[in-house]
Symmetry: C2
Subunit: 399 residues, 2 copies
């Protein structure tokens, strides 16, 4: 009789908390040829500065090849840290800047340094799925704080803050909702967090992508000692470089640095030098406004298409003032996850909003929400995709 | 009266296990201008294929720019995964290959997926310091297994294996000792590990850097289901790309992939395409033998200099058959860490071997050992550095 070999491997307890990303599985669905995708959070490739990178790559290898290709400091490339510090809207010492392998790595490092098994971590409801995934291996108790169009609700925050290790927030053009925290909410939140001695982890990948005016000052600018700030080059340069950064108070920086060193020694020196070359020219001063113009036009196209195609369907949506995402809600009785297969059959994809809730079951409206990215598809695709979405909704809408 | 603001931050328990790398602090000492360094594990910049990278960067951006700069699959770039699988000396499905941000990240992912607080992890004595650092945040009980010139001692391994999550090994030209596990020890170890149901994490960053003949077959080739294999492009291409890979059994791959996704989404697609371009040409077939020739000549220079300069001092050393490091032992009564400041004053640096022991205090000889890298310094520097080291030892040697 044959017996199957017993596996010698024992998984860590935390592995049970790691799960295939719902989003990832959904995105596979949307990769079918011909599908118009509002699902992914992919910057428009039209904004990638290919020729500037080609010039910068050649210059870096010509002028500084051996250093760019050697092992390097875990903190990051000095000139890039200085550029990051200088560009932030509050006084930041470059010594507080840590270059990370995408801002996703910043979340991993923060969790390692601040989260014990069972530690309470507060997040917006809904919030960035990748943050939930980055925190999960450290086995936190993640608690969602309710939000409205201006940001987290302070009474709910205060009720849940006791013992929390930190509050994780995306104040600007949030993923998934596209919401921006108002100036008055920021001021009140910052005062409350100080009073509660509640640290804040402020994630700002989209802040530069404003359409009409810059968003209010970051929470980190209001209380640098009580905040860790995460930033990214993925949205203003390109995600494929995998470059982000964090800014931490001096009391935390050494532990974050040690976690960084243990995680991947350092982020690629070649890539850091390419980014530094591009940043030191005046390229971004012209480039970022072009990204804003493009994304604003695409948002406007999506808003117009929604007004046109959703008439009479009872669908609601917001008007993001920047970023990449718009948040919509189906009429009562409908389900975004039930809609998705029909939408894909009609040729358009989105992400059901429930995926972004730390605890979707306790949020009665979560199942009706959906995230629509307006940056990856072109304007004609947006028009066709929203029309297809309208048809799919009409077919499932309650009478 | 002024009172200092109380910090709002609470560190995770694991943060106490993260410490500044001894090595890192030592390396700072050795960065003084004019110091000949045998300390760092830095590949010779003379081996970095700067012009090939320049050509590959230009091609990637010209032919495939938007894809190279966009978000990408967490598994890694398909063609590179296929190249990795095809180059390994046992049948590997590309689906089992995960591209990592340096092989250091492989260690982080392995620890996340396999180590609980208090889990027993077995390591060689001494072992790679970066592995101890990568494992530390997951709070293992690290247990050192004694080794001789042929590898870990199997009786000591068997005595310590009960309940261990895995045994971590560098069988080829080990860091720090330069030792290579013999064929007979590999065969016996593989059989013992199967009998004990003890998984093996096999780290092989240096395997291609052999001087006379390739090392014996990997442990992973003998039992692919019982091994995770870690590899690196840092030693055959360049560390500054931060590219490594792991090969895992199908039962473990999904969890490692989820950990990878949470850690940094994916490794830079631009860098992966550059590496794939360089690998797909026949460049490495010519390049790797040149690295071997260079490092062999530098090893020979160091052996000759040691024979010349250490005569009569009671210093012992080994003859590595590849890699980057040579392992030496001072006479009884001397201390490598006490020697280091005098050596630096004399113009030469090394790493005291005690840094590489999981539990140096229990190893009576650890304090007498030192790691000498022969790859970063040139032959004239090796001659001058070993002479300076000889003078420093002479001045401290017991009468």
């Amino acid at each position: 009789m044959l017996s199957e070999a017993r596996s010698p491997w024992t998984l860590a307890r935390r592995a049970a908390r790691m799960n295939p990303s719902v989003l990832r599985e959904l995105l596979k669905l949307t990769e079918r040829p011909g599908i118009i995708s509002f699902a992914g959070g992919l910057p428009s490739p039209a904004t990638f500065p290919v020729s500037e990178f080609a010039a910068a790559s050649a210059q870096v290898l010509r002028d500084d090849g051996p250093a760019a290709l050697q092992y390097a400091a875990s903190e990051g490339f000095g000139p890039l840290r200085e550029q990051v510090a200088a560009a932030l809207p509050w006084p930041v010492d470059p010594a507080q800047v840590l270059i990370t392998t995408g801002s996703q790595q910043g979340l991993d490092l923060v969790a390692k340094v601040l989260v014990d098994a069972g530690s309470r971590v507060l997040v917006e409801t809904p919030t960035y799925l990748g943050a939930l995934q980055a925190f999960a291996p450290m086995e936190p108790e993640v608690v969602g704080v309710r939000s409205d169009e201006e940001g987290v609700l302070l009474d709910d925050l205060e009720a849940k803050a006791a013992g929390a290790r930190f509050l994780y927030l995306l104040p600007n053009f949030q993923n998934p909702t596209g919401r921006t925290m108002s100036e008055s909410r920021r001021a009140a939140l910052s005062a409350l967090a100080k009073r509660l001695q509640l640290p804040i982890v402020e994630d700002n990948p989209y802040g530069e992508l404003w359409f009409d005016r810059p968003p209010p000052a970051p929470l980190s600018a209001r209380d640098p000692q009580g905040c860790i700030y995460l930033g990214s080059f993925s949205k203003v340069l390109a995600p494929g470089l995998r470059l982000g950064f964090l800014v931490a108070p001096p009391s935390l920086y050494p532990k974050l640095l040690q976690a960084k060193q243990a995680a991947d020694l350092h982020s690629p020196g070649f890539n850091q030098r390419i980014a530094a070359r591009v940043v030191e020219s005046d390229f971004l001063q012209h480039h970022v406004p072009r990204i804003r113009d493009l994304y604003r036009a695409q948002r406007d196209a999506m808003l117009a298409a929604l007004a046109r195609e959703m008439a009479g369907l009872g669908v609601a949506w917001n008007t993001p003032s920047g970023g990449m995402f718009l948040w919509a809600r189906l009429p009562r009785g409908m389900s975004a996850s039930a809609l998705l297969p029909a939408a894909v059959d009609a040729g358009v994809a989105f992400v059901p909003g429930a995926a972004f809730y730390a605890d979707a079951a306790s949020e009665p409206d979560a199942e009706r929400t959906l995230r629509l990215s307006f940056v990856t598809a072109t304007v004609p695709q947006i028009d066709a995709g929203v029309a297809a979405l309208g048809r799919a909704i009409r077919a499932q809408a309650p009478p």
